[in-house]
Amino acid sequence: MNYLFDPAHWTGADGIPNLIGEHLVYSLIALAIAAVIAVPLGIYIGVTGKGVFMIAGLANALRALPSVGLLILLVLLISPAFPSKMGYILPSLIVLVLLAVPPILTNTYAGIRAVDAAAVDAAKGMGFRTMKILTDVQLPCSLPLMLSGVRSALLQIISTATIAAYISLGGLGRLLIDGKAQNDYSQMVAGAVLVALLALFFDQLLAFITRRVVSPGLTRLTVKSAAAADTVKIPATV
């Protein structure tokens, strides 16, 4: 733990705030790209029912792919073409996006599918057009599942971005990989603790956002599970 309390490690390009910043920038860029791909696609598949077979197969196949192997394979393929920093940033982002798309896609699809058919019929009966049904009924109703997909995607990204330090991506993984190279266990522990706290913090943040933005009309149905999310709070994350 000594590493964390040494002020020298909190400033400069390799300082902890900088590493956290880098970790977040890569993670959020990857999450944004994944959401831009997966949300519209998930809505399309959910509404039209086309391409459902893709969903289950995709999620399972990608879970089996070892992310370390994929990362290293892409670096070797891509880095010769990009001599600069892009040589490892680009493959890292591709892998992060690739891992984040399936949870968002499947949950968006499942969310749209799970919308009460009676609610859609009622909107239709009230004269809502297709687009308005989507934006005012189907999307708000599928929001809880969609956000839970975003939540697991972000965790997956934060975790894999740590691993990407091995192929020289910046971020908190640096402390783990450099600590290993220098045989400095306290540096590794510091990195591990910070990454774990970062993941827990964002998990709780997204849980909080979910509670704020989801319509109260929906949460009333799931009082039990909402209460479950409320009862456990870990002080370390705040």
Binding site: G69, I163, G173, A192, A229, T231
Partner: protein, 216 residues
């Protein structure tokens, strides 16, 4: 693909594969054995359920590389000890399966439990001979997810220098050589598919009463 390199490295690859299987399957078995009583406890008590599921969710959010590094502090092991990997993956497996086991037991129809009771089954007999077997399909679905993600997570341990198929990735990176990387990815995926298939077979063998036609 350099076939000649592969044939020269054959013994080494089999050695790495063996370790990979051991590091992925041991936590699966341990995790299931720990999750069964915990899941049963969560199923029995409405107050324990949110607590256990909440703790499990928090443990699941800790990134794998971080958990591999932190476990030596808890277990008192060395950083290179394969036990850290087994411990970390057991934690993930338990975290995933506690909720699955509780939900599986919840999914058993009340009529079925009542029928067992009326036939004179004691509580533990009903649990072992009726409720658990009826819950097997749900549990094995969770076990499949755990098995496949364990196989992928084990390879992360290569970054710490613990030998398994992931070592082929780091080796390929250091040598700028594609053959070991591609061989490692293929072996990981095949291993995940074999474990997945074995759990499907085990599920079918344990639940002979379900229709033979599988929908998905």
């Amino acid at each position: 693909m350099n076939i000649e390199w592969l044939s020269r490295q054959f013994d080494n690859i089999v050695f790495l594969l063996g370790w990979h299987v051991l590091l992925a399957v041991t936590p699966l078995v341990l995790g299931l054995l720990i999750a069964l009583p915990l899941g049963w406890w969560a199923h029995r008590s409405r107050r324990i359920y949110p607590l256990l599921v909440g703790i499990a969710g928090l443990l699941y959010t800790v990134p794998s590389l971080a958990l591999f590094v932190l476990l030596p502090l808890v277990l008192g092991t060395k950083i290179l000890d394969p036990l850290n990997i087994v411990g970390a993956l057991t934690i993930y497996t338990v975290a995933l399966l506690v909720r699955v086991v509780a939900d599986a037991l919840d999914s058993v129809p009340e009529d079925t439990v009542q029928a067992a009771k009326a036939m004179g089954y004691r509580a533990y007999q009903s649990l072992l001979k009726v409720e658990l077997p009826v819950g097997v399909p749900v549990i094995s679905a969770g076990l499949r997810v755990a098995a496949v993600s364990n196989v992928s997570l084990v390879s992360v341990a290569a970054l710490l220098g613990i030998p398994q198929l992931g070592s082929l990735f780091t080796q390929g990176f250091q040598l700028r050589f594609f053959t070991p990387i591609i061989a490692g990815i293929i072996l990981c995926v095949v291993l995940a598919m074999i474990l997945d298939g074995l759990i499907i077979l085990l599920n079918r063998w344990l639940t002979p009463w379900t229709p033979k036609v599988v929908a998905s």
